[in-house]
């Protein structure tokens, strides 16, 4: 018997804000901390914590630098992060399809 789609959900990725960070980062070469904060409407502390979790899991890479005198933090998704995001999206779609089919 095939596993239920929930078995494919990864706790690290599945959290809504972390999924948002991965989704935005996967669309670009790299994305700046301030952009993520305003797009995802998170506080700096909250966003930092989510990025730290993703970085620890090897799903994103963090790069710190300066734009003139202004410190900037850039986040880019790793190959493992892309794979994890793709797996998560597949699992989510399968769950939605299963839910729709069960109601039909």
């Amino acid at each position: 018997m095939a596993d239920h789609p929930t078995a494919s959900l990864d706790d690290v990725v599945h959290q809504k804000h972390r999924l948002g960070i991965l989704t935005v980062a996967a669309e670009a070469k790299r994305v700046e901390f301030g952009y993520l904060r305003s797009t995802l409407e998170l506080t700096a502390g909250n966003l930092s914590r989510h990025i730290a979790v993703l970085e620890q899991a090897g799903l994103v890479a963090v790069e710190k630098g300066y734009d003139g005198k202004r410190p900037r933090t850039w986040v880019s998704v790793t190959a493992a992060g892309r794979a994890a995001l793709a797996a998560e999206m597949t699992a989510l779609r399968a769950l939605v399809e299963r839910h729709v089919a069960s109601r039909a």
Binding site: K29, R30, E32
Partner: protein
């Protein structure tokens, strides 16, 4: 769950929109196309693509392609730093190198022991193959070789639109990197205009003038300028 998927789709759409920077290359190459018209004054030959100052025309386009390509990369990086979301320009630099390398490889094509039945057809097939290889993440050396060969054969067979083929190659790669429907549509329109221009430019006019040869730039140049202006208007 469906709401979450919708939210993520919206995030993706917004990220793509914020990355868009395509009006600059369109306007740069569009304006440069029209500025090239005086260099299309006809030479002494009464047939084929023969201009009075071929070296000046070649030099002009080489400078435009190099400066335009590097300025485009700078523009994308500057915009990325300003907005906070950066587009990778490595693929575009590769396309630029292929477009510039095409004429060099094309010189060797003159010494081949055979001729293509249709150089245009062979070039297009090779470029289509290179696109498939790129999308399927084939080994880079194979993809690059196929793309360089395709570009060289096409530019060799269509010298009047050679620089526009290089511009088109860059736009196709940029459109794929941006993931913008509007930019992809403009690029497709540009490629169609280029084909029409190549097919109907009166190279065989009895008394060729600057505009009979120079008209080769008008259609693709117009698409670039109009596309760039539309992009600017949309922000």
């Amino acid at each position: 769950m469906a709401d979450l998927l919708d939210d993520l789709t919206e995030l993706r759409r917004r990220a793509r929109e914020d990355r868009h920077a395509y009006p600059f290359p369109l306007l740069f190459f569009g304006v440069a196309s029209f500025l090239a018209v005086p260099l299309y004054a006809p030479g002494s030959a009464s047939h084929g693509f023969d201009v009075r100052y071929p070296v000046a025309l070649g030099l002009y386009w080489s400078v435009v392609l190099v400066v335009g390509g590097l300025a485009t990369v700078w523009w994308y990086r500057r915009r990325g730093a300003r907005v906070g979301i950066e587009t990778s320009t490595r693929g575009y630099l590769g396309a630029l190198a292929i477009g510039l390398g095409g004429p060099v490889v094309g010189l060797a094509l003159d010494h081949l022991p055979f001729r293509f039945y249709s150089g245009t057809g062979a070039g297009l097939i090779l470029l289509a193959a290179a696109t498939v290889l790129w999308r399927r993440r084939a080994p880079r050396a194979v993809t690059l070789t196929t793309a360089v060969l395709g570009t060289a054969v096409l530019q060799h067979d269509q010298p009047a639109i050679g620089p526009f083929i290089a511009i088109g190659l860059g736009l196709v790669v940029l459109a794929a990197l941006e993931g913008s429907t509007r930019f992809t549509t403009i690029t497709a329109g540009y490629l169609v205009a280029l084909c029409v221009s190549a097919a109907f430019t009166p190279l065989e006019a009895v008394t060729p003038g600057t505009w009979s040869l120079g008209s080769v730039v008008v259609l693709p140049g117009s698409v670039l300028v109009v596309g760039g202006l539309r992009g600017l208007r949309r922000g």
